[in-house]
Each structure stands twice: as structure tokens, then as C-alpha cells.
Amino acid sequence: MRFVSFRSAASVLATTALLSIATAPSQAQTRAETLRYVTGASVNTLDPNIPGSTRESFALSMSTYDRLVAFGRKQLNGKWVFDLDTITGELAESYDVSPDGLKLTFRLRKDAKFQDGSPVTAEDVKWSLDRCVTAPILGKAQLLTGSLTSADQFKVIDPLTIEVTLPKPDKLALPNLATVYPMIINSKVAKAHATPDDPWATAWLKEHTAGSGAYVVENFKPGEQVILKRDENWNRGSANKPAFFKRVIVQSVPEPATRANLVERGDADLVVDLQASDVQSLEAKGKLKVISTPQYNAITYVSMNNQLPPFDNVNVRRAIAYALPYDDMFKAALFGRGAPLFGATWPDGNPLNGIYPFQQPVKMDLDKAREYLKAAGLPEGFSTTFSFNVGQSSTAEPMAALVKESLAKIGIKVDIQKLPDAQMSTQINEKKLPFFTEGIVAWLPSTDYFYRNFYTGTQRWNYSSINNPELAAIAQEARFEPDKAKYEAAGRKLNAMHFDLMPQIMLWQPNQDAVMAPSIEGYTYEFHRQVDYRDVSRK
């Protein structure tokens, strides 16, 4: 089979020239100024607030809309990651926090313009924030975690100043305004498309953008690709310049092997969701740049339902914690690409610090596991199921096999259950699964936030269904604790309780493996775990 016919040889050359930098220098200019980013996921809405929006939609909105503030970045082990503690202005030129921590005042940039050319005013900011806390959209639940719940909290002082009032001095109020949802929308345009049924224009904004972001949406094909064009007037970047790339192509390529081929051949510039095995071989070949960052706001668990027998018995949970073949699982599932959360040594038996997630002092020790089983009154073991979802099977399948094999040695018979994603989330939500693996991610990773959201209440994210009033009270109190030393003490206490109660087993934080052409620079691991197209440039 030949692809070049004699008649069309000329047109083939013309087409390949578009792709190849070496053969056609005149075309190369546009290719060099274009970022082609391929991903297994897809963008399904232009407004990330719509229930059901994908992670890729979150990332897109970071470039099409601005927020009042943005996270800074810092180096962690030589790699750039977002910095929760440095909040810089984006649409805000500057901001003040009152001494009592109850008032945040933002002064807007005078030169900030929406993509249609109209200036960004405090009215737009108020409308956008009101929308976020009032409309039935995703922003509501997020801003709640920063004590932002009502439109009364946002007040226009003058056309360029807006004031946010808080009921309590909440550390997470300001960082919340830098997350995906509270984006600033051109209120005049949005209102023109609002209807009596839909006063916040959610239907229109799903298909259209009305923002002040670095990129304008040129072509949006849901589930296939989005093409973005640079807004030349945007100057909210670090150097007061527009974003580097003139054009960004976000393309969905479902097959991971194809994504790996594309980036290796140089047809794609950047990809963050390759399979661990592909990343390893690409890294070994050394032709591409691979930046691996442990996702320090994400955790993979082996979780047990603390309300269902036999896992309601703490000794059963401890037995499991000592019976897992951690090292083998880490190698089989992730090829060791991540940060382990097992195998620590606590010299005095106490947590090393008050930061969550932390490495627990657990390792495989079958004798100890058998003792715990005996203490639980189940020396002969028991039968259970271990579930994971289809979407995670590339990592979870080898892991599940190892769990089954190892637990069989202490008499626990495990049936592996592979569930379609929707079925898995439903069963987790209904608290029906006894024993399973899942992951979580927190946009604003602080110790109290993790414990409040993932270890209390009856909502889906409390995978282990733990209901411990003491733990909940300490976490709740820590939320508003201004004193750093006291906060640290609370964190240590919580971590000690975690190890003692062993509600679920933290396994690791998988790496985000960003694989890119050697010419790509500036990649930063962001809180939403996708690429912020404004970060990257080509040298």
C-alpha cells in the first residue's frame, strides 16, 4: 500500500509542509506560534460552572476568562507547581485584607478590557460573583468552602473597586476567588442573553464566551477540538504581555498510544495524560522533555466502608493496612511514578508534622496483619469484594490482582469487581461498596480542608464513611484557627487519629507526567491538574 500517487505528489508535498518545520520555513512560523495540545478528555462546555463539565473545560476557562486573583507559582523539587500561598492580582491591580480578616477590597486594573473591547467594571465583577453564589451552578458549592454564600457579601464601592465581606476570617476565601468557577463575565453581554427562566444566562454561556481572558474561542466542537486565538490586548500575564502562542489547538485523541506517537513524532507539542508505561519509554529515549510532578493535591486510596461489617472493626482495617504489598502495587500500577504515602518511619510513634496527606508508617507485614485479624475475632479471614472503575483499569487492574493475591495469604478471599464509571460513582454515593480503590483531588489543599471534605459527613467524597465526632470537631475548629502553631498541633492530632483509626489507606500521589516537545517551556502543574495554556511558551 502506497500513499503517494504520481499525480498528487505535489499536493502531498504541500500538505506535509504544513506539518514539517524543516521543509517549509515560511509555514514554520505559524506552526511555531501554535500550541497543539492533545488529550484523552474533551471540552464539553465553555462555562465550567455547568454541572457535568469536564476537567478539560476547567482548563479552557482559565484561558478564556480572567478571575480577580490568581495563584502564583513556586518550585517544588525543581519543578514549577501552583502556589496556594501566593495570591497575585489578575483583574485586580491590588487587594487589601482588613486587619480583622473580614473585608477583602479589590481595585481593578484600569486597562482591563473584555474581548469585545468594553472595560471590565466592578459591576461586572459583582454580577459574576453573585451568579456564582446564587445560580444553580457548580461555583456555589466551591465558594461555600470559603464562606462566600450570598450576593450581599459583594459590594461595589466605585466603578473600579469591589469589597467582599466575610462572616468569619476564612483563610480560604481569597484562594477560592482564584479557582475555576468565580470567573468574571461581561455582564452586559450575558444579561442580553438571559431569559426569565434563566436569569444568569447559563444556557447561552455554555456555548459562548463573554470574558476578558487571554484567548478567544475561534472554533468549538464539543467532544472533538477547540481552537483558540490569542487576544492581543490581554496583558494580565506575568510580564504584562499577551500570552505566547498565537493559536492553541486543544484536540481530543482518545487512544493513549496514539497520543504518545503524536508527541514523539513532533506533531503534537504537549500531552499530560499518557500511560505510565509510555511515559517511561519516552523518557528513556530522551528525545522529549518529560516533567513529572507528584499531584500534591490528589491522593489514591484503598478505601474500606467503616459502617459495613467486617470493616466496621478497626482491627480488620489495620490488618488490611499491613497486608497490602505496597511496593509491588506501586511498581505495577504506576511504574513507581508518584509519591508514595506508605513506608514512613515515625521514631517516637507520632506524626512528623501536621500536613495532610502524609506518609503513614505502614508496610507489608503479614504476621502483624494476622495478629490484627485474630484481635478482630476473624482468625480464619472472610470474603469480600474489591471494586474499581473501568476508567482506571490501566492502574487499578494490576493493583487489584496484587491485593487479591496478598490478602489470600491471611485468609481473606477477595472477588475483583470492575464497574462502569457511572455505576461505581453511584455505589460509592450510596455507600454500598465495602472495599474499593478511588482517588480524590482538592483544589485548595490544606489539612483541615482534606479532613472536613473527605472524612466527615455522608456525602460521596467521604469514601470510608467514617463518622467520628472528635475528628470532625477538630477539623472544623482548625478551619478558622488563625494561630499557625495551634493549626499545626490540630493537624498532628488529626494525622495521629488517621493512623490509629485507619479509616482508609492512603497509597500514593500519582505523578502528572507532562510530555512535551523540547522547545516548550514554562509548564506548570496547576491546581485543576490540566495545562494552563498561558503558562507555556516556545523557545
Partner: protein
Amino acid sequence: MVMTGLGATMVRAGRRLLSSLPALFGVLVFTFLLMRVLPGDPAVFFASGPNAGKEEIEQIRKQMGLNKSVPEQLVFYLSDIGRGNLGRSMMTGQPVLKDLRERLPASLELTLTALLIALIAAVPLGVVAALRPGSIIDHGVRLFCALGVCVPTFVSGLLLIYVFYYLLGLAPDPTGRIDVFTSLPPQRTGFLSIDFLLAGDFEGWWAACKQLVLPAVSMALFVIAPLARITRASMLVSLGSDFVRTARSVGLSWGKVVVTYALRNAILPVITIAGIVFSTMLGANVLVEKVFSWPGVASYALDALLSSDYAPVQGFVLLMASLFVLVNLVVDICYGIADPRVSIG
């Protein structure tokens, strides 16, 4: 005479279409119920933001109409279908009808091309094998067919990508119907290879065809086997029959005997199989669509099924059922052309 024959065929075809409506309705209701019986709550799945709680789940449930009872939902669904509304996909955020309308031409173009390649390869292979049964050629064809069936389409797809894109660099990157840097022609038929020709853009046409070759070939490889085998078997019967012996004995040319008499009589079962193969390919080419990032209906339906997104799955099944009815009709009409004694009824 010809006119009345054609008219009668049309009337019969129309009657056939009408009589398939109850079956389509059955498919509709069955899929609707099946989706609701399957475990997995789409609302929980889609409310997967880092802070999504009960409120978000309820919100989505309301949006999808799941807060009503199943019979009520069915009535609403049927009345929507009656008005040509297939619902909205949570996954893409678009009306299902729009998604299907955009994606169906992609699937059809790929499947038709694959079927064409398969027929062009399979019929001569089958004929050659039948002419010399038991010969080395016959065994060669059998081996080739066996290989084609053994290798799953995604494996052959990945292999083709590896060789022609990754190693040799002859094929364009396997990402969909057209290279991202090529501008699209105005949409007329939705078939890119036709739209480019209509727009007079031959460079674009060539680019679209190049994208089409690898996925079509990997699909064709898989279906060559049944087509070639059935051609061989029915050619053998036909070659051994009395009329071929008579034709030979009266001294007709070899070509005339094989093509006009033997093949024309042997082609009926091939057409039947081709119709079935086409329908199966449309639904089953999901792996090829995934491997080549082909924006077709099958991968769309699979994604929807995994996330329990009801509307797209129901829309897809309805579409497939309707296509099946149409394909069967076309096959029956082809029978009439191949053998005037057969008429559809």
C-alpha cells in the same frame, strides 16, 4: 414495463418501511427501559466536581428529567421523539440530534469506504480461490482471511499506525477526519471526500482521503474473510451447476462463463452478507474510531454508555435500528437487480 416494475418496487419498499415502524417503536421502548434498569446513576457521575454534593446531584437529576417516575419519563421521551427531539447529551452538552447529525456522516464515510475496499479485495479473492479449489492460491486466500479475522481491528489499526505513521511517516497523524491545520469545506453532504470535491478543493480532498485510508483498511481487513469465504463457497456451487457446464460445452468464452453466468448467480449470498457486515461494522467500528480518534457515532455511544448518559445511547440505538431497516431494504432491492426473479415483498 420498466416503469411499472420500478413503481411496484417503490410501493413495496414503502410498505416494508411502514411495517418496520412497530419494530422501531419496540426498540425505542426497550432501550429506554434497559438504560433505566442498568445500575449507575448518571446524575452522580456527572456531579463530579471537587465539591459536588447532594444539591448538584438533584440539580442534574432535574435537568435530565430523572426526578419523575419512569412511566412519566417514557411519555415525555416519546412525545419529544415525536417532535424530533432526541434529548440532550450531558457528555458533550449538545442536543443528541445535532451530535448524531455531525457524527453519522463520519461513521458512514468510514464504513462505506471500508466495505468498498473489502468487496474489491474479497470478491476477486473468493472467485480465484473457487476457480482452483485446493490449490496453493486457495490456501493462500484462506490464510490471508484467517489472519484478517484473527487480528482484532484495534490491533491491526495500531500496527498500521505504527508502520505507516510512526516508522515510515507516510500516513498523516491518526487524529480524526482531517488534519487540524486544513480548513474544512462548506458542509453539504457531511462526507468530507465529497464535500471537498464539490468545493473544488483537491488538496483538501487528498488530505481527507489520506486520513481515511488507514482506518478504512484496518476495518476492511476484518471483514474480508466472511465476504471472501462466502464468495468462494457460492462460486463453487455455481461453477459445478448444470448451466455452467452447458455454457462451457457450447463454447462460450471463459470470461463470459465465469463472470456473467457463474458470478452473477453466486453474488446473492454475498450481497446478503455485505448488508449484514455493513450494519455490524457501523456499530462495531468503535475500536477503530477510538484508535484513529474518528469522530463517529460508535465511539460517541460507547462513551455515553460508560457514563450512563441516557439520551445519546437511546438516540444511537434508534439510529442504528433505522439504518438496519434501510440497509435491509437496499439489500432486497439489490437482489432484484442481481436476480430479476426475486422481488421484495
